[in-house]
Amino acid sequence: MNAELVTELQASEEDAPRVASGRARFVLALGPITVLVGLAWALVQPYRLTLLHPYGQGFWWLLSEPPLYVVLVGVLFRLFVAPGVVKDLEE
């Protein structure tokens, strides 16, 4: 085979992104799915977010933002748990 062609083939193989396994994709998707669920809940029931109408609300109501809790859980999972799990899974 032509040496130049082999070099090009090798280069294209190295450049190609690694295809994540199904399990890795599932783990990576868990966080964003949780975030989406939280956002969907906030859109369907915006009155659950006291921050949108904060005047006259007490401390506990301002702290209690259940849709945002769901979003926060998804973000934390995606940032701090999923990357390490996927890395270990693919090693």
Partner: protein, 194 residues
């Protein structure tokens, strides 16, 4: 001055949601991969233990009857026992897989406590309905940690265990102090609010 009961339910819901996601991930990737980083092995057992600890203030400040105090107290102990047993297994201090039965015991106690301390019927209010559903969910869900203790490598048992926590989180997020359920709200339940 203290937060409404529904708010406490939402905080616990967030905790159970994290627990569910961690357990689901462990079920999907397997215990070997999950345990490759030592801190990860302690993650969900310590969270379970902390949730048990957090039940003590709930017992102290939300005791409107003896049965509530007993229910919340037994929850606290059951969650702490389950978390501690799993921590012991993760650390290697405990060896027998049957220590995982503590999780089954914890769920069974929690489910029973939900059912016993809810003295109203299913359609009294949303809170009453959810207490009944949560109780039966946890009681039935105790089958999964039981199966996990007997067959530690079973995907169905591990995923089912995770699903119990995810369903519990959803149900807890649905809780309201006074709200209707399927159009039913007892006149004795009080005035509904948002």
């Amino acid at each position: 001055m203290i937060p409404h009961a529904e708010m406490v339910h939402w905080w616990f819901a967030a905790g159970f949601l994290i627990l569910g996601l961690l357990l689901l991930t462990e079920a999907v990737v397997g215990s070997e991969v999950w345990g490759r980083r030592p801190w990860r092995r302690y993650l969900w057992p310590s969270l379970c233990f902390v949730l048990g600890l957090c039940m003590w203030p709930v017992m102290t400040f939300y005791t409107n009857s003896t049965i509530h105090m007993i229910a919340h107290g037994s929850w606290a102990q059951a969650l702490m026992l389950a978390g501690a047993a799993e921590l012991g297994l993760a650390r290697g201090k405990l060896h027998s897989q049957y220590w995982r039965l503590c999780s089954a015991f914890g769920l069974a106690v929690s489910g029973t406590a939900f059912l016993i301390h809810e003295q109203q019927h299913w359609l009294f209010s949303r809170a009453a309905f959810l207490h009944h559903v949560l109780g039966w969910t946890l009681l039935a869900g105790a089958v999964f940690p039981l199966a996990r203790a007997l067959r530690p490598r079973s995907f169905a048992a591990s995923a089912g265990f995770a699903a119990v926590f995810l369903v519990t989180a959803v149900l807890l997020f649905c809780d309201r102090d006074t709200a209707s359920i399927f159009g039913h709200l007892s006149v004795y339940a009080g005035l509904p609010h948002r």
